[in-house]
Symmetry: C2
């Protein structure tokens, strides 16, 4: 355990508990052998011990208490009836047991997923379910194709910007519900505009309960920092804060409603019962009109790219955050997530992914294996079967407070100061992402951020470090060119320009340029063409050129293009020796031979 554990908040308690099954089976779970690779359960279930059962049960139960109110709340964020949130909250838990590779990850819909599916779900719930199925299939295929590596191109500044923008948008949309107003939409500016133009309509009791609940939640989150008494008590009290807030609000609303005078806006009827298991809807009916599969696809359009991307991003980021000291197989996580979505779409689920809040609760509750998910899933099913009448009395303002509290914890302002202190340059992709996400759309915003950030990689690939020094060796002026990075087509011309410009600037006559090749491990056709062109340029400036100690592969690319070039590649010389031999017997001792039959280059 880290020494500074007590200084970290819940979301940073990321170290797995030492001595859990997962760590015992080591690579087996997070990097399974080939047989068990696609079904991690094969590697850990046979080694399951009865002692873990209690811990998995406690963790699963705690997560369940957090999941149920959050699921109802996110169902509303998605623009669906509350039970759809619960429909989305159990199948993922069961499926992940089989395919998941990280014990802590908890699958259910998240605030961001709910927000992204909102514009389609409000047309018809069938759209949300179809997106769940299609996104799941896409994620599964990407996982099977081992495309997990693609998420590496989303940097922390871009993820931070996206998360903050999404959290701000979601939290802002709930500000109306918090004070008993009917929110107009899920957009940032309209929500605040509606709030400020409807101040007189604020319902006092709703506002009071909402604000008190919000303060309660934020204070409860800090309980883990208390250092006296039994810290475990504080921890579990903190973990159960969502459940406590909902139970309190529901009880209050129920009591007060008994005299027929409900002071709060409550959730209302929730359809009871477990959803049927059936195929996802490949066509639907909107306003009495038949909508075909093709029409549905053209409506959901670009979200079939953005929703899988964000879902993958969330689960990979979370599983990595909770797997210290182990390698997360991003592609296996994608397979698991794809299966969770596909299976979910058979029970009317909307798109799901790893939930940071619940995963943190799971980890903090000391879960041992993914089996904890079974407890959570069962709890949700039981709630659907027997508790929906109780849910009638959940005040809407309580749910709003729940969401806002969760969103506040996602806005990590210290990240901005971290970036400012450590690398100011990284604020640029961050700002691009957050601004475009807030004021354009989350989907395009993250793409803009990724592109803005890629510019850095491309820029630096186009400007490799090239060090040129002029030395007088054996009475000859020799320019030593040291390329500090790999060359590719974007940097090919830069090298050429640097060398030619350098020679043009010298006042004395430079007789020879030596291009050191130690760090040039692979070149492409464009680089080879530029090397040949540089050779011609230098000839025009009456300067000879030697490529010194290049590897055979790179030399081969050049020599196969122009066999005359083979005489300029020199190997296995000391520099002094090279210069001496060059000016003694210029161009006679070729050190590369080409066998034209195979097009091979060999060092002599």
């Amino acid at each position: 355990m880290r020494a500074d554990d007590n200084e970290e908040n819940l979301y940073h308690e990321q170290l797995p508990n030492v001595g859990t099954l997962i760590e015992e089976s080591g690579r087996k779970l997070c990097r399974p052998s080939t047989i068990a690779r696609k079904f991690p359960i094969i590697s850990w279930l046979p080694r399951y011990r009865s002692a873990y059962l209690v811990q998995d049960f406690i963790a699963g139960f705690t997560v369940g208490l957090t999941t149920i109110p959050q699921a109802i709340a996110y169902g509303v964020v998605a623009g669906l009836e509350p039970q759809y949130g619960l429909y989305s909250a159990f199948m993922g838990c069961f499926t992940y047991i089989v395919f998941g590779s990280c014990k802590d990850v908890t699958i259910a819909t998240t605030a961001i997923m709910a927000l992204m599916v909102n514009q389609y779900a409000t047309i018809s719930p069938d759209y949300a379910v179809l997106i769940c199925f299609l996104a799941g299939s896409i994620i599964l295929v990407l996982g099977l194709l081992n495309m997990g590596v693609l998420v590496r191109f989303i940097s922390i500044p871009v993820i931070t910007g996206f998360t903050m923008a999404a959290a701000t948008t979601i939290g802002s949309a709930q500000i109306n519900n918090l004070v008993g107003l009917k929110g107009p939409s899920n957009d940032l500016l309209p929500s605040w505009k509606h709030f400020f133009t409807h101040l007189p309509s604020i319902r006092v009791w709703d506002a009071l309960l909402g604000v008190v609940t919000l303060i309660f939640l934020l204070l409860m989150k800090q309980l883990t920092k208390i250092k006296w008494g039994n810290r475990l008590v504080w921890k579990y009290l903190s973990l159960s804060r969502n459940a406590l807030a909902v139970i309190f609000g529901t009880f209050l609303a129920y009591i007060l409603s008994r005299d027929g005078n409900q002071p709060f806006r409550v959730t209302g009827n929730i359809t009871a019962g477990v959803p049927p298991f059936r195929l996802p809807p490949f066509s639907t009916t909107v306003d009495g009109e038949y909508v075909s599969f093709a029409d549905m696809i053209s409506t959901v359009g670009a979200s079939l790219a953005s929703i899988p991307m964000i879902a993958i991003l969330e689960i990979v980021a979370i599983s990595k955050a909770f797997s210290k000291g182990k390698i997360v197989d991003a592609s296996q996580e994608m397979i698991a997530l794809g299966m969770c979505n596909i299976m979910g779409s058979f029970v009317l689920s909307m798109p799901v992914t790893g939930s940071f809040t619940r995963t943190a609760v799971n980890n903090a509750s000391g879960v041992r294996t993914p089996l904890g998910g079974a407890v959570t899933g069962t709890l949700v099913l039981l709630a659907l079967a027997f508790l929906t009448q109780t849910f009638y009395y959940i005040p809407k303002t309580t749910l709003a407070a729940l969401i806002i509290a969760a969103m506040i914890s996602l806005v990590e302002l210290e990240r901005i100061s971290d970036m400012w202190r450590s690398k100011k340059r990284d604020l640029f992709p961050f700002v691009v992402t957050i601004v475009t996400c807030l004021f354009w759309s989350l989907e395009y915003g993250i793409v803009c951020g990724i592109i803005a950030n890629l510019v850095y990689i491309l820029y630096s690939s186009a400007r490799p470090q090239v060090l040129i020094t002029l030395e007088k060796i054996n009475g000859h002026e020799v320019a030593l060119v040291d390329v500090k990075q790999k060359l590719d087509y974007a940097s090919a011309e830069y090298l050429k320009e640097k060398v030619v410009a350098y020679l043009n600037q010298q006042n004395c006559k430079v007789h020879l340029a030596v291009i050191k090749g130690q760090e040039i491990n692979s070149i492409d056709y464009t680089v080879a063409m530029n090397i040949i062109s540089l050779y011609g340029d230098l000839k025009a400036l009456d300067c000879e050129m030697i490529c010194w100690n290049w590897n055979i592969g790179s030399a081969g690319v050049v020599c196969r293009l122009k066999t005359e070039m083979r005489s300029i590649f020199k190997f296995n010389y000391e520099l002094e020796e090279l210069i001496a031999s060059h000016f003694d017997t210029s161009n006679t001792a070729s050190t590369v031979t080409i066998e034209p039959a195979q097009g091979q280059v060999n060092a002599a």
Copy 2:
């Protein structure tokens, strides 16, 4: 001069003639001093010698003889009346004298520009002129913003694929004109379909003249390879082949038409006279209906991105090809090109750029300064004023032969075998470009090719070379991690995964991992976060971590994020000494100090 000059065809005679003014004024012309930077004429005109006048005149005249028939032909390719080709062929020559930095470059419309403007020009010539103005403005702004560096991201395979596809499309469209058929469009497949479905309608005399002209042109091009007699005669004969073919065809058509029986399809009436100098059309009338500026813009749409891009690509590639031993200021060439287009749009020009054919003719004719362009421009103006009646008799089949011959020389099949021999991997972006250009569109095709090629840069940036070796030093197992390339956010996780996976694979206990930092010259926020995370991962594996000899900048990025990390950065030790001191007095001797006030990191 290169020794193998005689083995090269015209298009590869790229060395400037030694001893020309340009070389005497050296950097002055191609890299002018700050004052003359934007007006290269300032640096070379005062040093102009009367002796150059003859050479500039001969070159300008030769280029003019090539330009006039090509201009008429490309006017037709653009879907405009022939005189528009001539309108596009003089203003660029004059403007480039002032702003151009490379003596050989000749500005006029090219086959590719004509093809790309065709779909708009066929609506109304005003569209072509407006695109010329807007493209010019965009190019000028990009040049002033020094964006010339962007063309580096277009690799030779992509350029080759684009050029071959464009040449194939343009040449194919002329196959119908060559045999006296009326071609249906400028698209590849419809042209050939029309040709094969209309074989019975072929006009024999047109086909005969066309094929003979084509063979004549292709043979004449080879004249420079003749090694006996006066090579200069052969060279000028070869250079004048276009003019000869047109004069012969026109004369033949004129003679044969005198008995009132014209066997050839001829160009027909060309409006005589120099175009008026007036503002480009910011609105127009199509079929009697008024079209506003906004409507015109929305019609031309994406071509305002693609036409400037291709124009810049052509001129930068050409000026580089003809500037051996000197640095081409790509941004200055863009400024010149932008001005040429803007000025051209005042005299009804369509978009223009550097022409490879005519630039090569200019170079081969021994031009000394950009002043040669004045002769070419004047010749075109004279032709417009006095020769349009003669142009009436130019057979269409002759123009088709001219275009096809020019396009054949653009299809350099040996490039494909070069790529195959030197770097097969580079065939992928080439194939992507040529296929999408041929069967989708030139605009999108080149973008697809660029993206396909960027994947290589991004892929390799995500997988830096990381070498890990296990050494037993002073009885301790130490993992030495050597990062061979720069780290950026895309590669940050790769390093972490490599190290953790390596340690997981070891059977023995590794006590310490040393991350060597010699080659890590700059890291970003994401890399720093991953270094901190790696430190935590290794702690979970009971392995300590040292960052050895990182530069102060990179160490600072990490330490400013998390001050505890400063104890793991070690400088100025030998490796043995480092290990010894580490295990002797572990974690006591910090070698980095942080001054929190400035957030600075200093090596002690």
